[in-house]
């Protein structure tokens, strides 16, 4: 690798407090403004009804790096971005931003619905700091990027939300920032456009530092070189091991097992996964599997009606909520004739190994009736079980085979 590139973003012990009560928040605000005028310090610590929306965040970002910023809704990601963008000030700590900052936040903020796309390009460009001459030069490129040639003289109120985003991105994409802040902007927009945006960001990444807020893990994994997980304003994870961070993020979601919804046809009583010959090890309340040892999955179901030719499905999901493996009991020998009303049945599936990559997975379970001429779903329970796999062979693809290699020449 070449020598370390320069640090563009430096965040040291940054905190921000917010007030839950609006009236009080306004009063505190008025007080803080007055104190600012007369040169008095703001109150340190929390006042009544206040809480830390961002609490002691630290990170550094160099040119060419991309920090993925993930966390649940309300974790404080956008607040942090606002501070980095200089819209609001931290209450504690220090932020250093080196170079020109560009933000892809709320694309098309400032679009006026009744004006045409053309007029809005100039207006929005001016908000982003372009002069009229600069936009004149880039105008055709913007329109081409947004793929809106035919509608450029149409009022923006007649655009679809995807078209607005496209126009907004195309304008903002003309910035050549040293630091680029991106907040969940590509949620709308069709596949083709999103890919185009990513290619563009890849280009930007070569010469700038990017901070990306997203709930889409594939997006984060694709872009990020560093990952910061925030929970309730606190820094939970900060490392270059993106996969670990994403696992942690996913592990926060609904790991309470056994709380299955019932319906009037059948009930899922219990789901279990374990290595057959090993003691069960748990991490964060979830079973940790050895992928190269035999594994069994046990599912207990209570039938509330008579079900002929029951078919059970086990569907494995990876951390991106992608289903990548599935088993069922379709083949004759796996079938049982019928489930009797009121009885519990235990289904046991054993695997020689589950050669999954290291990470968090979930298992969804579905039950159906599979009689000739009649296929009916009885229930489908998403994420009935979460488990982790500990594999020293790990990559982004969820399945990691261990083939026998032979090399011939």
């Amino acid at each position: 690798m070449a020598e370390e590139r320069e640090i563009l973003v430096k965040v040291e012990g940054v905190s921000k407090k917010f007030c839950k009560n609006l009236k009080r928040s306004l009063i505190y605000g008025g007080g803080d403004i007055l104190k600012g005028f007369v040169g008095k310090e703001k109150t340190k610590g929390l006042r009544k009804d206040e809480f830390w929306a961002i609490n002691n965040i630290n990170f550094e970002l160099r040119r060419g790096e991309c920090l993925g910023l993930i966390g649940h809704n309300g974790a404080g990601k956008s607040t942090l971005l606002k501070m980095l963008n200089g819209l609001i000030r931290p209450d504690e700590g220090k932020i250093e931003m080196r170079g020109k900052v560009g933000a892809l936040i709320e694309l098309g903020a400032g679009f006026s619905p009744i004006l045409t796309g053309r007029e809005n390009i100039y207006n929005n460009g001016a908000v982003l700091g372009f002069s009229k001459e600069e936009i004149d030069l880039k105008f055709d490129e913007i329109v081409a990027f947004a793929e809106l040639k035919d509608f450029i003289d149409t009022p923006v109120q007649n655009y679809s939300s995807g078209m607005k985003i496209r126009l907004g991105f195309a304008i903002a994409a003309q910035m050549e920032p040293d630091i680029l802040l991106i907040d969940e902007v590509l949620a709308v927009g069709d596949m083709g456009f999103v890919l185009k945006c990513f290619n563009h960001m890849d280009k930007l990444l070569r010469k700038s530092a990017i901070i990306l807020v997203s709930h889409s893990m594939p997006q984060v994994v694709r872009m990020a070189t560093d990952l910061l997980v925030i929970e309730k304003g606190k820094q939970q994870f900060y490392s270059k091991e993106i996969g670990d961070g994403v696992n942690l993020y996913y592990s926060k979601f609904g790991s309470d097992i056994g709380n299955f919804e019932t319906n009037d046809k059948a009930e899922l009583i219990q789901v279990e996964i374990k290595n057959i010959h090993k003691e069960v090890v748990k991490i964060n309340g979830k079973v940790l599997l050895d992928p190269y040892q035999p594994v069994e999955v046990k599912v207990i179901i209570n039938a509330k009606i008579n079900i002929d030719n029951p078919a059970i499905y086990l569907i494995f999901y990876d951390k991106e909520q992608r289903s990548f493996a599935e088993v069922n009991n379709y083949s004759e020998s796996d079938c049982i004739e019928s489930l009797e009303k009121g009885k519990n049945y235990e289904f046991l599936a054993t695997f020689d190994s589950l050669q999954f990559s290291r990470g968090a997975y979930s298992l969804s379970i579905a039950l159906g009736e599979n009689s000739p001429g009649k296929r009916e779903a009885i229930f489908r329970i998403q994420s009935a079980l979460f488990f982790q796999v500990d594999n020293h062979h790990h990559g982004w693809a969820p399945i990691q085979f261990l083939p026998k290699w032979e090399v011939r020449s």
Binding site: I33, E41, K42, G86, I88, E92, E106, G110
Partner: protein
Amino acid sequence: MSESESKIKIYLPSNHDSALSLFKSVFQGFRKGHDLGFRLFKRDLKASFEGSLFGYFWIIFPPLASAAVWIMLNQQRLIKVTDTGMSYIAFALLGTTFWSIFSESINKPTQRYKSAMSMMVKLNFPREAIAISSLYDLTFNAILKLIVLTCLLSFTDEIFSVKWLLLIPLCLGVIVVGISFGLLISPFGILFSDITRIINLALPFLMYLSPIVYAIQPDSLLGKFQYLNPITPWVEHARWCIGNLTHHGQSMLIIWLVISFLLSLTGLMMLKVALPIIVERSGS
């Protein structure tokens, strides 16, 4: 996107910067935000009368209506206004037009900053652009009002002379004075909507305390106070332009311009301190 932006920015908790650095950043904001200010003005002008049948008429209507009431009252002898030295119609029209420009100028900055809040919580652009767009907005409206005023005045007994052109700088002066109060109020006006309500409650009252629909009575106590009223010198000079009324020297004009400049600067510096605090309380 100028080269000067590629410098280090440091954000610290402290909510007060030295007056000098605030002054510098206000100055910078004006330099960088000028184009944007003009664009925002144009954008909002186009947008504001979309969906309105009468369009620009709404800008000129309020002073005309207010003048019409007073002219009517005066003609019916319902009230007795002492000799104004010119036709009362011209007198009242001038007064109410100037007053409406003044009161609009007081409200404009708060109003504009409030409506730009949705942009300010998302984007970092020179906030001074909003002040600049307010200035353009007010000037445009004032010129429109002046044109209508001149047309109406030519139907009265007054005879057009070159002196009438002085109405333009006088008008601009009123805007400068008004906007300086407006800017000073705006940090709190944006945060608390109560401020706007109080001002709109107080303005009509203040109008009757000012020599808008009547001439100054130099001997009365009120008359003496009225010489300290920021609107007085401008209105008096305007009347002097139209109808040869005596005025009380140019010194008050200069004094108020200087005061306004200082007030505006203070207001803008206060906004610099206040806006981040307001933005964090405005949600997204």
